[in-house]
């Protein structure tokens, strides 16, 4: 396997990768994102992502050789360790990352006709988004619908927190979550907004037979009034303790569990 050597920080590819790591709008513009770390790169290859570029550090290449699992990558480059480190989002980089195309299938929530989904409205913390994707994958709902006004599921932080779940699991992105949720409802989906107060009923009192979707709101502000208005009903997790303590990822875990069990 041939690797092209790049040594200059001013190289066009190096600049592009840096921008893909830091900017959500650039990722959208280029329709590409970066996955760092061996496990994520292998997951991407295994799950049929189109890998544009495979980037390794000199140390990584020396220790591991080329990766036959990622043979399909169009371009392969090797960087001095010090240059690789400038691209990395971690303190001690493993020395491998890849640039992937965003899969086209994730861009239209309206292609969904059946199944059980979680709708994440403006989730703020990429660690929560990643954690929720892990739980959704483990328990086996059909996908996450993510509003693009929240944190970007293609950011390095979200990808790392998801431990590969955001690559392996169906993620549907929505530019207009209010409108898209309304369309899902029109298609026959039962839509539930999870709230802390003023609920219509507890989460155990509704049916999650497919097709259905539960909305998890923003960590600080909850589900917006507009999206609540779209929902069939507002549901809540009854809490006998200190309700403000339950964070979005824990609430999502409990709700997903009720949806699938």
């Amino acid at each position: 396997m041939q690797f092209e050597k790049i040594v200059s920080k001013d190289n066009k590819l190096i600049k592009k990768i840096k921008k893909l790591v830091s900017s959500a709008s650039y990722r959208r513009e280029e329709n590409a994102f970066v996955l760092e770390g061996l496990r994520l790169v292998l997951d991407a290859a295994k799950n049929g992502y189109a890998i544009e570029t495979l980037v390794v550090s000199e140390s990584f290449l020396e220790a591991n050789g080329g990766l036959k699992e990622v043979q399909s990558s169009k371009q392969r480059v090797v960087l001095p360790d010090s240059l690789f480190k400038t691209l990395s989002d971690t303190v001690s980089p493993q020395g491998i990352l890849c640039v992937c195309n965003m899969p086209k299938t994730i861009l239209d929530p309206l292609k969904i006709n059946k199944g059980k989904y979680l709708i994440l409205e403006n989730t703020q913390d990429p660690a929560n988004l990643g954690a929720i994707a892990r739980t959704a994958e483990a328990l086996g709902i059909d996908g996450l619908i993510v509003s693009l006004k929240g944190c970007d599921p293609f950011s390095p932080k979200a990808q790392r927190a998801a431990m590969g779940a955001l690559v392996r699991f169906p993620i549907y992105l929505s530019y207009d979550i209010i409108e898209d949720t309304r369309k899902l409802k029109d298609k026959g989906f039962s839509i539930y907004a999870s709230v802390v107060s003023d609920a219509d009923c507890e989460i155990t009192k509704v049916s999650y037979d497919a097709p259905s979707a539960v909305i998890i709101g923003n960590e600080a502000n909850g589900v917006t009034e507009q999206l609540k208005a779209v929902a069939n009903s507002k549901i809540t997790i009854p809490m006998s303790g200190r309700a403000e303590s339950l964070n979005a990822a824990a609430a999502a875990a409990i709700i997903i569990w009720e949806m699938v069990k």
Copy 2:
């Protein structure tokens, strides 16, 4: 409110605080720990913790004055911002921390006679420990029993992840979790070990009537064989997805939910 000014990094108190922040064994030796940030300090004061020392930065004191809520602290010191920063566990410190005595009530799991508990056996990641404490507090079980071979619930990372739950919520520490769990069982507690495989039944199939306790194992290795042998039965969260993805905090959220609902 009088504040003593300290400017030297070689001051005895400064050295002690640094060591309390970094060393679990020193915290145990001194029977003290550090809480950083306004919210945690106020939570500690409100929940009756004995506050040894209140430490603020010059900027904090200028902006906020003394804190009347923490009047009970035996000692109050103010540091130049640069010196305060050397004690802080965060990148942008708020400029307030306190040294608390560890409350005596948390040191004996054998004082527990009734209620519902989670037993954390060798939890490795302080972020998980903190997240689990938050969920346990929100949903209202009676306490966490934490084996001291895992990460330290008095570490700054665990305290920060818990958003105050580790200060407000009953935490029982165990030096010998096998022996202590056996004694709880002898006292009439139903003990359940949560496992990923080889379970006796699903988590919905057992009764969590008090007194009962569910064991959450170490993130990498699960519940130890010795502790499984103590449990009345092994229970599992049925998963139709990719089981390895469910992390300890999400699993704990689902289990606590089943215990209280």
